[in-house]
């Protein structure tokens, strides 16, 4: 084919890609610069080079009496880690139950999960608060963790993965060797599922790390709050009196850990996005 149009299109493609890359990175670049600068420097105007107040801003944020940042990080870590473990383990278990066994309610159960695949949890938030209040779990981290056991989107990913990578002959072989069904799942099936478990664990972790709506309704004690709630508290504080160095530092603390993990595992995460599809 003629080369000229392709050449022009390549140039246009690069220009668009560079603009988009700039848009994606620019805001985070300012964030990283500003979290190293003092309040006075930030008010003075924009700079392309970092300042020297990183440690000072960090200490100010960590020791702020009104913003329990350290316990916020701890709570966010607890919730996200347990959610990732529960969501992947129980989704794999459910998927295996529907994949490897035949029983009467197999098809209805599968159809049911498929129907609620993309149902948002917000629509039942009102009743959810009611139920967990009655169970005495208001203002605890449990109501943020336990519902992860039922994660339809993770289930669907696991089920599809089993269809393509888990031969039932393997399960039969384990049976012949006298393995109990539950042991077969833990010792034979889970190791095969490792790549899928890893990808979904990352997504579940990130999703819960970022979750704001439900935690804000459930956690009332300062010591129980997670990072997104602290950010919201910062937003509603009197902004003009606030130390901007601290504002940028708290945002940095909330998003940079995720970016570091993402960059380290980007290859697998991008592959996971392409395969998964199902995500809120």
């Amino acid at each position: 084919m003629d080369k000229k149009p392709s050449h022009a299109r390549t140039v246009i493609a690069y220009i668009v890609l560079i603009i988009l890359t700039f848009l994606c990175l620019f805001f985070f670049y300012i964030l990283l610069i500003n979290c190293t600068r003092s309040h006075a420097q930030i008010q003075h105007g924009f700079s392309a080079l970092p300042g020297s107040s990183f440690a000072k801003n960090f200490n100010n944020v960590i020791h702020d009496a009104k913003l329990p940042v350290l316990s916020g990080i701890k709570n966010s870590l607890i919730v996200s880690t347990f959610c990732a473990i529960l969501a992947t383990y129980f989704s794999a278990l459910t998927a295996y139950g529907l994949y490897a066994y035949n029983f009467k309610l197999k098809k209805p159960a599968f159809i049911f999960i498929m129907l609620i695949l993309v149902m948002p949890t917000q629509v039942s938030a009102m009743g959810f608060i009611n139920v967990i209040t009655k169970m005495g779990m208001l203002n605890t981290l449990y109501p943020l963790i336990l519902p992860s056991i039922a994660a339809p989107a993770v289930f669907y990913f696991m089920y599809s993965y089993m269809q393509s990578s888990l031969p039932l002959e393997l399960v039969e072989a384990a049976r012949v060797d006298g393995s109990n069904e539950f042991m077969t799942f833990n010792r034979v099936v889970l190791p095969i599922m490792k790549p899928a478990l890893a990808v979904q664990a990352i997504f579940a972790f990130v999703q819960n790390w970022n979750n704001y709506f439900l935690p804000a309704l459930i956690l009332q004690d300062n010591s129980k709050r997670t990072l997104p709630i602290l950010i919201a508290m910062l937003r509603s504080a009197d902004f003009l009196k606030f130390d901007m160095g601290k504002v940028y530092m708290l945002i940095t603390l909330a998003i940079v850990p995720i970016i570091i993990v993402y960059i380290a595992l980007s290859k697998y995460i991008v592959a996971g996005v392409a395969l998964g599809g199902v995500k809120e």
Binding site: A13, L20, G127, N130
Partner: protein, 323 residues
């Protein structure tokens, strides 16, 4: 879509394991979603709120909450949600289609595809509330963006983004666009790469221009995934909350023009007006249920609808995940 299992000899003795393995999922679902949903629907027919320290109700009031709902600003908030969603989604789908077509076009030799994919997907993982807070700081009246625009001489005086309807809505749309176009691009790319290369070769032999190939071959072939992206994005749009809530401190300012449906629900939940919160939730549930059905039929083509075949993309393969 249920898989045909090989006939198992000892099938009956294993059935209980199936029930046992799926039990935790269903128990958790019933306790944390189904019972709450039932209660939400139930209380939507009651007058039930807190006024100061006294709890009013629950008193059955029939459809009064729904009447009040449609006489309130509910429709305005619905309109806001749709506008904010569309303003982010239209550029998102256009850019994603363009990028997906470019990345998969063998005639364009784009280098660093992996780098671009990693960069454009990154905003999707960012905490939306932190992202909104960042935008609030950057676009405030004396923030870095205004300072830069003024010092470059593009503006005479700072533009008050968060006092203007278009400015605030624009920022919300920009954030939604940035957070989702990478995700959509990667999904569409996977779909395009699932198309048989022989189709593209045939198109090239027949002398199709890149534009013709895109509209006549690529687009029709990825239709199921486009539908999927559209519907899931609609559901995501209905859930829009973190970004406008943090950006406007829950006020939806200016003049509640960026108050979304979930922000409205959140206000009722915070003021503990459970009857009204229930009514809002039920309307949202009905819309979402319809969208869920569409997703279901899109993922599970029925026998007489063979045209819409399930794409390979929906079947994660081990090799692909191992890189």
């Amino acid at each position: 879509m249920a898989r045909k299992n090989k006939p198992e000899v000892k099938e009956i003795s294993y059935a209980k394991w199936g029930y046992l393995f799926i039990a935790p999922f269903f128990i958790a679902f019933v306790v944390f979603q189904l019972v709450p949903l039932a209660q939400t629907v139930y209380y939507s027919f009651f007058e039930y709120y807190r006024s100061g320290l006294t709890v009013i109700g629950p008193t059955p009031v029939g459809l009064d909450n729904y009447k009040e709902l449609f006489n309130s600003d509910f429709l305005k908030y619905f309109g806001n949600t749709v506008i904010l969603w569309l303003a982010g989604f239209i550029p998102q789908i256009v850019v994603s289609l363009l990028l997906a077509a470019w990345f998969t076009d063998v005639r364009l030799k784009i280098k660093g595809k992996q780098f671009f994919k990693v960069v454009i997907y990154m905003p999707n993982l960012i905490m939306a509330s932190a992202f909104a807070m960042l935008f609030f700081a950057l676009f405030s009246n004396n923030g870095p963006v205004n300072a830069t625009l003024v010092s470059l001489g593009i503006l005479d005086h700072p533009f008050r983004f968060l006092s203007s309807v278009a400015g605030t809505r624009g920022l919300v749309a920009l954030m939604n666009f940035l957070m989702w176009f990478g995700n959509t691009t990667i999904l569409l790319m996977a779909a395009v790469m699932g198309i048989s290369p022989s189709l593209f070769e045939a198109a090239e032999l027949d002398g199709c221009s890149p534009r013709q190939t895109f509209f006549r071959v690529t687009l029709p072939m990825i239709r199921p995934i486009l539908v999927y992206v559209l519907i899931t994005s609609m559901i995501g749009g209905l859930q829009m909350f973190d970004v406008p809530q943090i950006l406007t401190n829950g006020k939806g300012s200016p003049d509640r023009t960026v108050t979304t449906l979930i922000m409205y629900l959140n206000n009722h939940l915070f003021s503990k007006n459970y009857g009204m919160a229930g009514a809002v939730s039920v309307v949202l549930f009905v819309i979402c249920a319809i969208l869920c059905l569409l997703v279901y039929f899109n993922l599970n083509p029925t026998e007489n609808d063979r045209k819409i075949k399930k794409r390979d993309r929906f079947k994660p393969r081990k090799e692909a995940l191992n890189g």
